[in-house]
Subunit: 459 residues, 2 copies
């Protein structure tokens, strides 16, 4: 019996329409990356598990897709050695039979790449990378087990001109895509300063993780979470007004400078923020930027500026985010390699563009012109015209079968083909070609050899 | 201690230079596919193992990369049930703990896609697909465990105009890439006819597999292999002259028509070959085509025309190949869906272009122009110029740090950046920008606002 075909849950097929839309997004992002001097790299889908494990926390380790060793993976395994009182130790056994895992993000492979190829690269190294990643998360609306990331990073310089450049990239990408956004900016050193100012310098992670949830769960729940993590009510009350800070960027910075006067790290963060907002002001970026102290971002490797981008006209989580990290490559043996980068969330950007109906028209059309199939002699007559148009970069096709015209029409219609050519005995007699604009109804005749004329009509 | 970074054997990192070259190949191929009306699809990296198993023969099943089920994969496994006298039954156990596998090629996922989405597609369905595939083969020179395939297929029509179109695509791709090739053509029905003519109609597979090796192992070894498969010396001697057939295509076809007179299937194949070579002659294809009866191609799903492309100026296996299949989707429940397609071997094409030094110049350059960093005031002065150039699609960057000029020069040099701009107090005073062509040494001054003038100089 034939199998009923299906695909693994959490994965997707992309048909012609979805692909055309995704390519439009990727092409736009890629072209902006390139105008700013970033070059593309790709890393393997599989990494050694030793490269991946321990980089994403315990939860991340569980979400790695592991690849069974090839050959007789279980041949020499002593299963009894993996039995515990609670049953089989799946974690230990899977480490034994799986040496490789699928890429979980593009950041760790990038760090691995930089260290491994450090002698071949020119620093500061500006790279972008657009590839799928895999996570064994529970699939749900908008969350997939295979999805693309679009990352752009520079490493090898501490200059905040690079933060500015990334903000310019964000500005340019979303302007080209026609999506209004706001860029939220903060600095991890300021968050460290907050922890120091409230008397719990060792709770930076707990505090930032709690602050990160402000948008989602609200102020009261964040305060409760902080108390639950061991902060005193006094400490929480020190943090509260700073989280609710209002006013212009200059006013916020002035208030912070007073509040964090006791924290050298915090003051350094404020200096960085001040410099970056100065750059932004001088650069003519039209996208709204905002200093948002509640922005923390969950990942612990950030050490300086952090960013997050929200769509203004569509309700969805952040569609781009990133920041400065000072020691990403340290784990692979290359210390003091500061870097900064952002990641564009292709799936969410897709949802925003779809929701706002912002795709250019005709994106997924198969061809510009269809030549109807009227029989072998007519096809032989038309073949050189089709070849010549294709040489000019015009997408042209011949219906492969001499089917009823209705069927051929329907094909053109369903594929969004805008021009139709029907060639019969009259045209062959006169050495001409008829072409009809299906939208306007306009029909014109051209000499068969007038490829330039035909091409001009098809634009 | 820091980990020494490495990647799994048989996989590769692609740095900026390799990626630029690969993108050049993919972009060329993609643009030709598009001018012929093919639209892109993508399928998930993971397929259910039930979709993949049994489609590539026993050897293929062994080469599938399997993905360990997520969660506690081994928790409920009764290992004793998998013990045999020869030890653990790895095959059965891996089926229990792995439900998914990595894509082995793009053909089976395409067939699965067509069946699963048949109600959303317009037929004839013309698609291309460029994605990596994974095989647990023993890695060796030129053979990788992860590599890209570029497939183009149509399904839903038996018209050989589609075979012609694929040959036109091959012709166009290699002309654009500047690689001289020969396209070998044969027809599986003719091979069936040969089996019938020599009296062993049930040995088609054995005979075609043996014939397929003619190029590699030579005539004597092929004859021996046929004898080994149970053919009689008389049968082998019937086949021999046909394999060594010489002369023009018309002469070969005439000889075949006599030799295969007793085989209706063989005669049908000859009719198809005659029609296809007629199309080719009328289409003005400049690439050499050849009817090669020793061309068989290993895959058993081909039923009509088969193709293979050889580079003329570089010694390497076939760089593109494919053919007509009549029942690829049958296994997934959709019978009688004839299709035809070819696959471009990106890695081998890469090797050929590298060997023949056929890449366009400046492919991997990071930017067109580098603005040296002379300090904060100069940067503030130059920022609007850089933004304006980028808006025009010109790749421009600022060196992020105010480093020694020598260092900034070296950076431009290593990245192949062709223009350098150094802005100092004089330029700021006069509102100008200096730009130097690093290759020719020509230096020109522009008003800071003359973006069009600067852009024209940078072309």
């Amino acid at each position: 019996m034939a199998q009923k075909p299906s695909i693994p849950k959490g994965t997707r097929d992309f048909g012609p329409v979805e692909m055309a839309r995704r390519n439009y997004i990727f092409d736009t992002i890629r072209s902006v990356f390139r105008t700013c001097g970033y070059t593309q790299i790709e890393t393997p889908s599989m990494e050694n598990l030793s490269t991946l494990l321990g980089k994403y926390g315990d939860e991340g380790d569980k979400l790695l897709f592991r690849i069974l060793n090839s050959g007789e993976a279980f041949a020499d395994i002593d299963f009894d050695a993996f039995r515990t009182e609670e049953g089989i130790n799946s974690k230990a056994l899977s480490l034994k039979v799986c040496e490789k895992g699928l890429r979980y993000d593009l950041t760790v492979p990038f760090a691995r790449f930089v260290v491994q190829h450090q002698n071949e690269l020119s620093f500061p190294f500006k790279r972008f990378q657009i590839q799928p990643v895999w996570r064994a998360d529970r699939p749900q609306k908008g969350r997939y087990r295979e999805f693309y990331q679009c990352d752009v990073d520079v490493c090898g310089s501490r200059s905040q001109l690079l933060e500015l450049e990334l903000i310019q990239i964000i500005d340019s990408v979303f302007r080209k895509l026609g999506v209004r956004v706001k860029i939220k900016i903060n600095n991890r050193k300021v968050l460290t300063g907050l922890a120091e100012a409230c008397g719990f310098p060792d709770k930076v992670v707990d505090i930032t993780v709690a602050i990160d949830k402000l948008d989602k769960i609200g102020l009261e729940a964040v305060k409760e979470e902080m108390l639950g993590k061991g902060l005193t009510p006094e400490a929480v009350s020190v943090l509260e007004p700073i989280l609710l800070l209002q006013g212009s960027t200059a006013e916020k910075i002035a208030t912070l400078r007073t509040a964090l006067a006791c924290s050298p790290e915090g003051l350094k963060g404020i200096d960085e923020l001040e410099e970056l907002f100065g750059f932004i002001e001088g650069s003519g970026i039209s996208t709204e930027t905002e200093l948002d102290l509640s922005l923390a971002r969950g990942l612990n490797y950030y050490t300086g500026a952090i960013f997050e981008v929200k769509a203004l006209d569509w309700e969805i989580g952040s569609i781009c985010g990133g920041g400065r990290y000072d020691n990403l490559t340290g784990i692979f043996g290359l210390p003091d390699m500061s870097g900064v980068g952002v990641s564009f969330g292709a799936d969410r950007i897709y949802d925003v563009l779809t929701g706002l109906d912002k795709y250019p028209e005709g994106l997924a059309a198969g061809s510009t012109v269809l030549f109807a199939n009227m029989g072998p002699a007519e096809i032989a007559y038309i073949l050189p015209v089709v070849s010549a148009l294709r040489e000019k970069g015009i997408s042209a096709e011949i219906y492969p079968d001499a089917a009823k015209l209705k069927k051929q029409f329907d094909y053109a219609d369903r594929k969004g083909i805008r021009f139709l050519s029907i060639t019969g005995g009259d045209e062959m007699q006169s050495g001409s070609v008829q072409i009809k604009n299906l939208a306007s109804g306009e029909q014109r005749a051209f000499a068969k050899t007038d490829i330039d004329g035909i091409a001009a009509f098809l634009v």
